[in-house]
């Protein structure tokens, strides 16, 4: 059962993670530095408030125009348990799958900063019990779920170098929340 529970940490629309969560414009800065300052131009103190296992809840085009995989490594370093957003930039979404970070397309309307949020990938459901919010999330294809279940493409290929994709079993280990970069 792929279930993530954490506090909702809100961000807006069209977030460019290359800009706000990578060292693209800060050569020589390590991931730890970037993680400490992630999204601070958009939401001052965001990284400081973010707790391990918390869930980013955002609007349209999260990862807009953003193709850097490093941003996902930094999000893992911050301890992001999952990202729920109305929509995602294609390459950012792909990079999350490849690095075992749960991404769910879902309307965030009504979610308030700090809400306890539950993301159930197996059932395709996002819920905030305290507000009576229960929303469906689109099912990801079996191959993609298998890569997520393995913790990302590299662990998947270490286990299955021939790309033999099995749909995930009914009960799965959740992916590790911290991945070495």
């Amino acid at each position: 059962m792929n279930m993530i529970r954490g506090k909702a940490r809100l961000l807006g629309d069209d977030i460019n993670t290359d800009l706000h969560c990578s060292s693209k414009y800060h050569p020589g800065r390590d991931n730890a530095y970037v993680a400490r300052h992630a999204f601070e131009q958009l939401a001052p103190g965001f990284a400081g408030r973010f707790g391990k296992g918390d869930v980013i809840v955002a609007g349209r085009n999260f990862g807009n125009n953003s193709s850097r995989e490093q941003a996902v490594h930094i999000l893992r370093l911050m301890g992001v348990g999952a990202i729920v957003a109305t929509s995602f930039g294609r390459q950012f979404f792909r990079n999350c799958i490849n690095n075992g970070l749960l991404v769910v397309e879902c309307d965030p309307a009504g979610v308030v900063e700090g809400d306890d949020i539950e993301v159930d990938l197996g059932d395709g459901r996002v819920a905030i019990a305290a507000r009576g919010i229960v929303r469906e999330a689109p099912q990801l294809p079996g191959e993609v779920l298998a890569i997520l279940a393995a913790g990302g493409l590299i662990p998947f290929l270490k286990a299955h170098p021939d790309w033999q994709v099995q749909p995930p079993a009914a009960s799965r280990q959740p992916p590790a929340t911290v991945q070495r970069s």
């Binding site: 460019n16 800009l19 693209k24 414009y25 050569p27 020589g28 085009n61 807009n64 125009n65 193709s67 850097r68 995989e69 490093q70 929509s87 930039g89 294609r90 390459q91 792909r94 990079n95 490849n98 690095n99 294809p141 079996g142 191959e143 993609v144 890569i147 990302g152 493409l153 590299i154 290929l157 270490k158 170098p161 021939d162 790309w163 994709v165 070495r180 970069s181």
Partner: protein, 430 residues
């Protein structure tokens, strides 16, 4: 039900299965590319994967283009790692000054019609000009390809765009892509493939077709696909490519959206400051003074782009207060431009012509950082605030012809209104 070009290429590379939009396939890749902007991460992922052998290395190009030459020790050191890795594993290496990844790959004969090509850059859509499915991926993806020769792909839906009629003289593929951005919005084609077709596309030479496919990246497109024709085959043959396996869409292919562009009525376009999808016809911004005019990048750094500029500027001087920088997309383009006298013509007109590379596209290259209040018109692909290193600066985006005409007058100018601005390339026979 018939198939789109994207469905056919992904299906044929995934064990000849029928692939339809929404399917996930594991497909064999024909060629891969890694550039110095992403090499640090990619090399770490390859190490993390820990493959004993990398059989695909010989079908991978490592390209030093973003940091050409390196502007800081981090870049210089990643170049050293790239050279060592390419040498050890037999990857193709394009070094400082050879040119931009998306230019050197086709020039090097590494891809052909019907191919599936991945690159660690969003503008990998460029390869669609050659009827190849080219898409941007990252380091983890590249490590998977290097070890297994395959990668997972979700088959995209396709937007079909038919260009009716023919572009006017002085109007170029860049004006089409800007028009598309104005209509769909940045990321308006997110996750989708775009098929461009119609007489206006057929009339484009290869340089402009590359612009058309390249700038689809700003629409968020996964791939941009053109049909192949005699121009494509001739170009590929001259550059030593493998035999083409052209792919066309079926007449009954299913598209998620169909669009038409009346090419003959399209005037030159400009994306205004900070937003690539805030697009207007050039006449709307003609009073806008500029003090930088930039030609180059994978979007518009090819021979026809330099020819457009030289046609307008030869024998003249750029306006007082304007700095112009021209960066050919590759060493091949640079040499061809030199042989035609374009380097001399542009330099004599007051432009600075650089060695090939990504050049003034983005401040991380170290080639140009703008001052407070500077206004740039560029043939590059993006113009978000701060792209050239200064939030207190503005970037407008246009075709090479629009940039050159603007350099001449000192304000944004419709190239059709200046001498040489209505030049067209002579159509090349096969």
């Amino acid at each position: 039900m018939g198939a789109t070009i994207a469905e056919k290429i992904l299906g044929s590379h995934a064990g000849n299965r029928t692939a339809r939009a929404g399917d996930v396939v594991v497909a064999g890749v024909d060629f891969a590319m890694l550039h110095d902007g992403r090499a640090s991460n990619a090399l770490k992922r390859i190490e993390q994967l820990g493959a004993k052998k990398l059989p695909f290395a010989s079908r991978t190009a490592f390209v030093a283009d973003h940091y050409s030459p390196p502007p800081h020790p981090e870049a210089a050191n990643i170049h050293r790692e790239m050279r060592a890795f390419a040498d050890q594993h037999g990857a193709v290496l394009y070094d400082v000054g050879d040119g931009i990844c998306h230019q050197v790959l086709p020039e090097g004969g590494h891809l052909t019609c019907g191919d599936l090509v991945v690159g660690t850059d969003t503008h990998s859509t460029t390869y669609g000009a050659f009827n190849a499915f080219g898409t941007g991926v990252e380091g983890t993806d590249l490590s998977a390809v290097m070890m297994t020769g395959k990668l997972w792909f979700r088959v995209p839906e396709t937007i079909r765009v038919d260009l009716k009629g023919r572009l006017q003289a002085g109007v170029w593929a860049k004006d089409v892509t800007l028009h598309m951005l104005g209509r769909l919005g940045a990321e308006g084609a997110n996750y989708k493939a775009i098929e461009y077709a119609g007489p206006a596309v057929a009339a484009m030479e290869i340089d402009d077709r590359m612009t058309l496919a390249n700038h689809a990246a700003e629409l968020g497109a996964k791939a941009a696909l053109l049909e192949a024709d005699e121009k494509t085959f001739a170009w590929l043959k001259v550059h030593g490519a493998r035999a083409p396996r052209p792919v066309t869409a079926d007449a009954d292919a299913r598209y998620c959206q169909r669009m038409e562009i009346d090419a003959a009525r399209l005037p030159p376009q400009v994306a205004r400051r900070h937003h690539i999808d805030d697009v207007v016809g050039v006449p709307e911004v003609e009073k806008q003074r500029i003090n930088y005019a930039l030609i180059g990048t994978c979007t518009n750094g090819r021979l026809d782009d330099l020819r457009q500029a030289a046609q307008i500027l030869k024998g003249k001087r750029i306006a007082r207060g304007v700095r112009m920088i021209v960066t050919p997309a590759s060493r091949q383009v640079w040499l061809a431009a030199a042989r035609e006298g374009l380097i001399e013509a542009l330099t004599a007109a007051g432009a600075s012509v650089e060695a090939a590379g990504c050049g003034t596209c983005v401040n991380i290259t170290g080639h140009l950082i703008t001052g407070d209040g500077d206004v740039v018109i560029s043939s590059a692909n993006r113009n978000f605030k701060g792209r050239l290193g200064n939030d207190n600066s503005e970037i407008f985006i246009g075709s090479a012809a629009t940039v050159a005409a603007s350099a001449l007058t000192g304000h944004i100018t419709d190239p059709r209104t200046v001498d040489g601005g209505t030049w067209r390339p002579a159509s090349k026979a096969a």
